[in-house]
């Protein structure tokens, strides 16, 4: 069996710098395509997962997107408030399996403090117990999300205002210190399992604690009581309520019923679908741009390979002069060009996934979303297309090797 690799290796040694240039050019073209595709998929998956427990969200009429972004993804924006009476009707509605009012506004060391009920803390009863400790059982107790750097048993004092300054989460903040609700002292009693959502970096307290802290009472006629049922006349205005309906039909009926009287009700998926559509449009545009980029780079690579071949044509003529078949010299030329393009594609896949992993890590720290990187064949498609085109164009040097005039080339003419 013939061994063209010995000559391919010699060629690579001879044109080391140019070979690296070809590999890097191809790698960049592939990496951009892979990173775009993988990142978009990771973002889509993680945002969907994060919204899984938010079947229906009710809020005051306003921006639906803002309601979802603030409630599900804890983006620090002030939401318009709805009357607290909504809790009463939900509490007696047979279509509602469970519901949880949500209140925002305070922070501890950069972590948002969110008032809610045990129903939502247990994710509608899915958690029998937290990962560590226990669930809160009194107004002055708190549980922390999986990634909150606060120890169990620690006493924390909430401060007014979400995202009070640019201090890193978990770090003491001078600005926070000046806005503390000194009368509210909370004991951390439990740590929740990871959800892969921004709620992993939140501190959850009974909603009554938030109301009390801000001077609105505790939502009940009876002091110290926490959780549903609430006494409607005691409930202050609310930014959001998350509802768990019994059935899909109930969800649609509730969504329809709570879209009146200054309220809005929506499925987070409605917003996400629109978001994904926009993301998809951006991704498609970027993919087309990256494919065009790939075509341009492939063109440049082919030109470079042909130029390199011209520089080395005496070598191919020598092989023929020494008795190498056209198949052998063609194989050397084809493998040489194809090897560079294939190496570029592989390096591009690795670089693309590496870029995606780095970007995911950065986005995770920024948003709290767990952006899982899951390579799949669709992300390798640009690389495969480039490889296919490369394998065809790599035939050019092979054809040129076959058509060489041996006498003229060996004489350097």
């Amino acid at each position: 069996m013939m061994n063209p690799l010995i000559m391919v290796k010699a060629d690579y040694r001879a044109m080391r710098g140019s070979a690296w240039a070809v590999v890097l050019l191809v790698a960049f073209a592939v990496a951009i395509g892979v990173a775009l595709s993988a990142q978009e998929k990771a973002l889509r998956t993680s945002t969907t997962r994060a919204a899984a427990d938010f079947d229906l969200v009710i809020g005051a009429a306003g921006s639906a997107t803002q309601l979802v972004m603030t409630t599900v993804y804890l983006q620090p924006e002030a939401l318009p408030l709805m009357p607290g009476e909504s809790l009463k009707s939900l509490g007696t509605d047979p279509r509602v399996k469970a519901f949880a009012p949500i209140a925002f506004g305070d922070v501890v060391r950069g972590y948002p403090v969110i008032g809610t009920t045990l129903d939502f803390v247990t994710r509608w009863g899915r958690y029998d117990a937290p990962m560590q400790g226990r669930f809160f059982a009194a107004e002055n107790e708190a549980v922390v999300g999986h990634d909150v750097a606060v120890q169990l048993g620690e006493e924390i004092i909430p401060a007014h205002g979400m995202g009070s300054d640019n201090s890193a989460k978990g770090a003491p903040s001078a600005l926070e210190a000046t806005h503390r609700h000194e009368t509210t002292r909370l004991r951390v009693v439990g740590r929740l399992p990871a959800t892969g959502s921004p709620w992993d970096k939140a501190i959850l307290v009974p909603i009554e604690s938030v109301w009390e802290t801000h001077g609105f009472g505790n939502g009940h006629h009876q002091d110290g009581r926490i959780g549903a049922p609430f006494d409607a006349d005691q409930v202050p205005p609310l930014p959001a309520i998350v509802v768990k309906p019994h059935r899909m039909a109930d969800a649609y009926a509730l969504r329809s019923d709570y879209r009146k009287s200054g309220l809005m009700a929506l499925f987070p998926a409605e917003i996400l679908v629109s978001l994904y559509r926009n993301l998809g449009d951006v991704r498609d545009a970027m993919l087309v741009a990256s494919m065009l980029n790939g075509v341009l780079i492939l063109g440049a690579v082919i030109l470079l390979i042909v130029a390199l071949f011209s520089l080395r044509r005496r070598r191919y003529a020598l092989l023929r002069a020494l008795g190498a078949s056209a198949l052998y010299s063609g194989a050397v030329a084809w493998l040489g060009a194809f090897g560079l393009i294939a190496a570029g594609c592989l390096a591009g896949l690795a670089l693309g996934w590496g870029l995606t992993a780095a970007l995911s890590l950065w986005l995770s720290t920024q948003t709290g979303l767990d952006l899982h990187l899951s390579p799949d064949w669709t992300q390798t498609l640009p690389a495969l297309l480039l490889l296919l085109a490369g394998s065809l164009f790599a035939g050019l040097p092979a054809v040129m090797a076959y058509r060489l005039s041996l006498h003229e080339t060996l004489r350097g003419e």
């Binding site: 061994n3 010699a10 060629d11 070598r315 023929r320 190498a324 056209a326 041996l406 060996l410």
Partner: protein, 230 residues
Amino acid sequence: MGLSGQITDVRLDVTQPNASPLRILDLPHLALGAGEVIGISGPSGSGKTSLLHCLAGLMRPTSGAILWNDRDIAALSPNACDLWRHEHVGLVFQDFQLIPELTVMENMALPQFFSQWRLTEIQKDSLHRQGQQLGLNNLHQRASSLSRGEQQRVAVARSLWHQPDLILADEPTASLDRAHADKVMQALLEHARQHRTTLIVASHDPAVLGLMDRVIGLENGRIATGPAVS
């Protein structure tokens, strides 16, 4: 392809194909005997290299024939001609034509890789012996690190190693000092005598031409002095 033996008869007419055709070689008849050792002399541009390239099938004559046991080499397809060269011809180029990135051993055995994945131990031993015969002791160093004289000897070793029936050498001693030139010529002649190989050497060197059975002088692509026994 079943061709083996010797070039017996050459009739060549080679014209450069351009606007004003220039006749490069015009050899109405040249008989070559089996196992003959022939020198080709002549000034630069007289057609020595073109003749060697025609005999090796690297250049196709405009008309004429190169008979190898009654088969016309000039009429072979490119692939058949490549195979014929691989099996029967050893070439030594004026400018060595080594692959600088390969080792001495890989250069010497390069044609072997056209049909074989790796060298056997027996082949490696044989290469070592031949290298020693030509004063090449380290076969594992890169060709790029060799002196011009060493490179020339590697080129000669490459042409001999597969024991060809026809050796075509273009100025094989041009880069060598006298001692190494003698060593190279001795190896070429020894091979030719032992294997009854036809050896054709193009050279300016009177000492080299003096070792030939006969010398053909070329001038403007034509035989100038006629066959002459040295």
